[in-house]
């Protein structure tokens, strides 16, 4: 149980909520919140949506007001990076200077994968931070006409959606056979593909990128099928890697993230939360790492409480994950954890109308609910998932809909 100074490394969603929770729970000692970006904690979901469209100012991105942040009485250090950790010695290194801690929250998140051979090439972007988003927003405002999005995941889909809304010509390239295929499976992936095409995206699936062309600035892309397209803006959304390099040699277990126990504890007095944390969620087999907004909030809260608890008081972190993604005029929500080859059944609405709810099931178990403009049904389904409803029970519940 932690009694004195807590350091939180990572000043985004999980880190902010960890700090807020410590104060809410009555922790009165020093809390240091260290972030490597120069900005006060801000919200990332709008970055690929309203902020990218130029419809949201910087100050509207803030996670909290200046007053509320001041009330937390944090030792807030922005533009600083943790560079090393010694768990046994209870010290960490910030920009090379060693300091001690009693409790530590690791919330360093992830960073974007990049396409090989594109480093330093103007017009090629990834999207993770406010500065990333501002650069793409400015490129769109400066008259980019032909955007290629590589990767049809959430970031790619939302960037495509925003750019289409600005009248930009958009090509989206996905190596898999369907967008979101690895998450949603082929059938629902095809529905996602239909939504993109319906809104005018030139979606090319099952094809990779062979070479990005241009001297100093991107001018085109050659695809693996031989097609060469002219491009003046390239956004790469091909996944992320956890920021754990600074923890090498620290004594923590690192394996696609910081490996924790079921309560988010990585070592005595050390917890991890958000995109960087990998833990055994008792609802599912194996270790889980979740890159969604709601998980960062909840895990930040849970991990902070864990620091203040004894081993006996600690409880497992056992959420049913969910996320939303806003694309065009559609709200996509997924609750649960589908396997791409689960049975899929549309239980409300119609996929052709792009307004529906669908259930995923496997071996008599209800595994996930997907909705497009069906928030009520998705959230009711999330309750069923939390209650451990069977496939039959879930279908019976849904038979009351529509």
């Amino acid at each position: 149980m932690v009694r004195s100074a807590v350091t939180i490394v990572g000043a985004s969603l999980a880190g902010y909520w960890a700090a807020e929770t410590l104060r809410r729970e009555g922790f009165e000692d020093r809390i240091s919140l260290i972030g490597d970006e120069p900005h006060a904690p801000y919200d990332r979901p709008p970055l690929s949506k309203k902020y990218l469209a130029g419809d949201l100012d910087d100050d509207r991105l803030a996670l909290t007001t200046t007053e509320k942040l001041a009330d937390l009485q944090l030792d807030l250090r922005l533009g600083c990076s943790a560079t090393g950790l010694d768990v046994a010695g209870r010290t960490l290194e910030v920009d090379g200077a060693v300091e001690s801690f009693d409790g530590l929250v690791i919330a360093t998140g992830t960073r974007c994968r990049t396409l090989p051979g594109t480093v330093g090439l103007a017009g090629v972007h990834t999207l993770r931070t406010r500065d990333d988003a501002a650069a793409i927003r400015d490129a769109l405002a400066d008259g980019a006409r032909r955007l290629m999005v590589v990767g049809a995941g959430f970031i790619g889909a939302e960037v495509a959606s925003t750019a289409i809304g600005r009248g930009v010509e958009v090509t989206m390239v996905e190596a898999l056979e369907a967008p979101f295929g690895r998450v949603l499976g082929v059938e629902m992936g095809a529905v996602m593909a239909d939504v993109h095409r319906h809104h005018g995206v030139d979606l090319r699936t099952g094809v990779g990128v062979d070479e990005v062309l241009g001297e100093g600035r991107v001018t085109g892309v050659r695809l693996a099928d031989g097609a060469t397209l002219e491009v003046d803006l390239l956004v790469v959304g091909i996944g992320v890697v956890p920021n754990t390099e600074w923890l090498e040699g620290s004594g923590l277990t690192l394996d696609d993230g910081v490996v924790c126990d079921g309560t988010c504890l990585a070592a005595p007095g050390v917890v991890a939360a958000g995109d960087v944390a990998r833990w055994p969620n008792p609802r599912y087999d194996g270790l889980m790492r979740v890159e969604h907004w709601d998980n960062a909030v909840q895990q930040g809260v849970h991990a902070a409480r864990r620091l203040l608890q004894s081993d006996e008081e600690a409880t497992p972190f056992a959420p049913v994950p969910w996320f939303w993604s806003d694309q065009y005029d559609r709200k996509v929500q997924l609750a649960g954890r589908p396997h791409p080859d689960d049975e899929v059944r549309v239980v409300a609405g119609s996929t052709a109308e792009h307004r529906f709810a669908a259930f995923y099931g496997r071996d008599g178990r209800f595994t996930a609910a997907l909705g497009m403009n069906r928030p009520r049904q998705v959230m009711q389904s999330k309750g069923l998932l939390e209650a451990g409803a069977s496939w039959e029970e879930a279908l019976a519940f849904a038979s009351e809909w529509d």
């Binding site: 909520w17 979901p45 909030v297 909840q298 928030p375 009520r376 998705v378 959230m379 009711q380 999330k382």
Partner: protein, 63 residues
């Protein structure tokens, strides 16, 4: 305790409905309705969770 929703921000993600179904309801028209504008003190912790987990930060509490 009074529940206030900024409907310009609300995008009907419905997480609030799942956390506090006696206070919030997203109906089939995809709009959020406040069922109980002045919930009892015993609901404070739950409503605060809805405030915290609203993806649009559209909910606030006035004492």
């Amino acid at each position: 305790m009074r529940v206030v929703v900024d409907f310009d921000l609300c995008e009907s993600n419905a997480i609030c409905m799942q956390i506090a179904p006696d206070v919030f309801e997203v109906r089939d028209d995809d709009f959020l309705y406040i069922l109980e504008e002045n919930p009892g003190e015993d609901r404070r912790a739950v409503v605060e969770q809805a405030v915290q987990r609203c993806p649009k930060q559209a909910i606030s509490l006035e004492d």
